[in-house]
Subunit: 215 residues, 4 copies
């Protein structure tokens, strides 16, 4: 009885419902191919409400970006922060990431799979969003080197490792779609296996050399 057609909701509630709907459509179609009409219909209201609350299609997309970036970063920090060692922090962060992507696949698509076609304002926000993720990862990575390496050099190396990790994790979200039975835990363990040793090599400045006797 309390849901007499969920009409006349207070603004903050409506806004979240609109953003929910928008994420779904933006993820499915991409920014340009999404129509505000479809988002409005999915949200159960009419277009003018979207423009009243979120200003424009661009404003709507930015709102999605901001909300989901915050959610992801929060989840990542909450998981990685309390862990007692660099190794476990990285493991916890990766697990949080794969869990987030498993639970909110649309959000991840909206955050990281938009093409290069976006307006300056959106491109800036998107870059910032991606940077926020990289910053979290890089922060952990910097604490992972065996020795306490020099700061400037270490920063560059840590960035390199962070890009590698984020790219690998992103790509593995596609692999997950092909292996729906694999749990985030398993994937995390495998990725750790794959990068943990080599990552520290890189951070410590060790250099791979062409095997003896070859090209």
């Amino acid at each position: 009885m309390s849901d007499i057609r969920r009409r006349r909701l207070p603004r903050p509630v409506r806004e979240q419902l609109i953003i929910d709907a928008a994420i779904g459509v933006f993820a499915k179609r991409g920014y340009h191919a999404s129509s505000v009409d479809e988002i409005a219909e999915l949200a159960g209201i009419t277009k003018p409400m979207i423009y009243l609350y979120l200003d424009s299609k661009e404003g709507l997309f930015l709102a999605c970006l901001r909300r989901e970036t915050e959610r992801l970063v929060t989840a990542f920090r909450a998981a990685a922060g309390p862990a007692p060692s660099p190794e476990l922090r990285l493991r916890a962060g990766l697990l949080a990431f794969f869990t987030f992507v498993t639970d909110h696949p649309d959000s991840w698509v909206v955050l990281h799979r938009q093409a290069s076609e976006l307006s300056p304002a959106i491109a800036a926000e998107l870059a910032q969003s991606r940077q926020a993720v990289l910053t979290e990862v890089s922060g952990i990575v910097r604490t992972c080197s065996t020795e306490g390496a020099g700061p400037a050099c270490a920063e560059d190396e840590a960035d390199f490792v962070a890009y590698t990790l984020v790219g690998a994790a992103d790509s593995l979200t596609d692999w997950m779609v092909l292996h729906p039975d694999e749990h985030p835990e398993r994937i995390t363990v495998r990725l750790m296996n794959m990068v943990w040793v080599g990552m520290r090599n890189v951070l410590d400045g060790e250099v791979w050399t062409t095997p003896a006797g070859e090209g």
Copy 2:
């Protein structure tokens, strides 16, 4: 005489010019935000020619995809194929990739940075294109395990590693933009350093375990 404005070119030549122009525009704006008008102007002809030769905007995009996929796979194979060991094949392949991206950044954007917004036909072709890259990598990876592991299992593991590698490499193309002085060779070495050891652990089925006394 030679500058009768290069009108009346034979069809195959025109087609390549059109595809050249299209890749530039698609990379800059993304599929949906690109207009056939702009591509026609950049190619120096009128729209009806595009429709006559490539059928539709979709057909034009597919042509771009196919040509560039073939170029990339060919470069990869030419580099990796002749190398005498798995390690060197992987190294050569990665180097070929980073070199390709450095030389043809637009092509890579068109191939791997298009949003999820595309029509079924395009989405299929794009998946196939990405799969072609993954197949090459996976093929090499499968020869890298220390022991000759069981085939079925190995295939899955090799795929996992391939997704990781392609994702890492893709992401590192962004890192390259921020570090324009780093050459493909340097990046390849670093990436090898980072994954070579761990990759073989994964392929050999070794399992990372939570460090003793934690979690």
Copy 3:
């Protein structure tokens, strides 16, 4: 106590405040380009109040028209009525007009500078408003002829003169903007200088003829 934010004003007061705001917006933007939203905001209330009190955007504009027409006509009559001779009545009327326009430029813009784009109801009211002004002027003009000319004919001539005068005066309001130091008195005198003699010629039925030996 007096600044409980002036909420809950009695209806007649609120109505005047709304009309004040509306005149400003209508003058600045024109009828169609004005939005009820902007008027409501400027008036310090919400849109439903405007609809409650003035019925519609059209009703609001009509209310502006009526109030300002009455103000202008009243000012004109008060000035022209008591003067002892036709000449002085006309002079006083013109002075009242230029003074009104100086003091209430928005009102005059709303009254006489709206495009032809208005709804029938508004167009009718606007025509009536302009006619009210013309009627005042024409009434004075009719008393200005030297001789007591025949009525029917005189009426037509007086109308002609009235249109001329009102058009001239209207146009001079633009001239005033370019010459902000000129006072209404000076302009009135000049306009009188320019039309007084010829006006009476026209009213007396004298006909200008092409100068001898030309055309």
Copy 4:
């Protein structure tokens, strides 16, 4: 046979037809209340053609403004230029004006009866258009003073007179609508009668004074 549905006209021809239609609609409804749809329908084509040729609604309006301003100014000059005396030049100019308005009433409405609601670009063009008319009139007026008065002062006076004349003439176009049997010649003569003498007083710097024994 040559008019197999007037389709596929060359661009310059189509453009003029579009402008013709636009003037009609803009005059009837005003800029804001006019819809590009209606203009397209009246022009016998579809909207995209309008945008292809004239860029935007604003561009379309500007094209109307420019074409009609040029026509009016040309007609005015052609009439006034050759006349042998100031008086006759003014008379010829006024006659050309009233003839133009009679023949192209929509053009005049578009040129001088648009409200204050227009975009900066349009407002600027409109001001320029009105100024062009005033400049023509003012140029003639300046030659009308009895004596050769001082230039600077004379310029100001001439402007005053020009504003008066243009305003009077504009207003009389409304009067003409109520008196459809009056020909431009008659109106011109009357207006000359009304202003010729007084105008020269003003230009010569004579000052009207309140009649003795009054005020």
